[in-house]
Assembly symmetry: C2
Amino acid sequence: MSTAQETAGGEIEPWEEVTPDAARRLLVAAVEAFAERGYHATTTRDIASRAGMSPAALYIHYKTKEELLHRISRIGHDRALDILRTAASGEGSPTQRLAEAVSSFVRWHAGRRTTARVVQYELEALGPDARAEILALRRQVDAEVRGVIEEGVASGEFDVLDVQGTTLAVLSLCIDVARWFNVDGPRTPDEVGALYADLVLRMVGAAK
Amino acid sequence: MSTAQETAGGEIEPWEEVTPDAARRLLVAAVEAFAERGYHATTTRDIASRAGMSPAALYIHYKTKEELLHRISRIGHDRALDILRTAASGEGSPTQRLAEAVSSFVRWHAGRRTTARVVQYELEALGPDARAEILALRRQVDAEVRGVIEEGVASGEFDVLDVQGTTLAVLSLCIDVARWFNVDGPRTPDEVGALYADLVLRMVGAAK
DNA sequence: GCTGAAGGTGAGCGCTCGCTTAGAGTGCCA
DNA sequence: TGGCACTCTAAGCGAGCGCTCACCTTCAGC
């Protein structure tokens, strides 16, 4: 049995590590509000009322509004890094692992779009210390993707002129999904993941 | 002689259409502030003081803070669309025109990063009417890129399974440049433009 | 020299923000 | 049953927000 709860849709709810229950409800409410309006446009009163609590209740579980963002960003980056690591260190050729990394990373950005939006676009609202901690995680994200591409180049499967530039472009493509993906749109997260994996394999010159 | 002024760096300053001078200074100050901190985290006092004026002066030239964002977004989208139209309707094969479209669009996002950030990421701060107007421009942006890809498919130069999905991915790649590009980083806008044009041609299966 | 339009300022209004405080309700254990 | 720890609320503080208003300066036209 998984340690993570699953929703009706079969998607993993990644906030089970946040306790007690009231703290988790506040955090989930904050993710939704930050994703919809952005950190600065969200009020603590809005977060509390979404969680069905009074404004003061927020400060029992979190010192400041920024701490809420920090917790969300930290957990979200951990999850994103975990997804990439699992794919990058799995079995199979660099081609297969890059395809799996891109498709699972994209699925996460599309399927958990609200979280991904906060994680990818609200970084600058963090203070210097928290931002530095998160930036370290992002360098690890970059390193995972770059590693797979380097292996593919070394094995001769890939044909890449600028490894770091291509790494950046691959991540760029995946991350931007959080900006445009629409749950009510014509594509499922799985479909976008498959399409983007194909496009990325083309970008690195992998044989089909 | 061009109707646009040029800076010392040779880059076109696109705000010459904004008059009088004080209104332009306020608008340029707002672009910088919105790009740095986001629309909601920027105060009208900050904008005015960057322009060397008192807080009240802003309201002589603009009805509200949101009108400033609207003007910036409108002019920026017009410029972005103009860049794409010029490239897409130019001479040469679909391959050449797609490469030119991507490289010039990316150059704009990198070289005029502050404007591009506001244009691409502060859309949701606009009210319903203004947002609808801007969304119409974005559909035209999409149509320009899709048009070139469709021509390449029709001529047999491109090998694309999902034209609309690939169009979205191409635009996605270009737009995300505004998020990560760093003026002090190792790459010039020209270099990123050339790299991304190459990557996009690979994505559409164009012969090298 | 006078006038009106245009562009500017200092002061501050009404409001909402993030956050605090005093105290009430609830359940656990001696 | 009493007391304590924990959780939550009602009320509201000080600060800073977008924006306004009364007034000042500059300058072209007569």
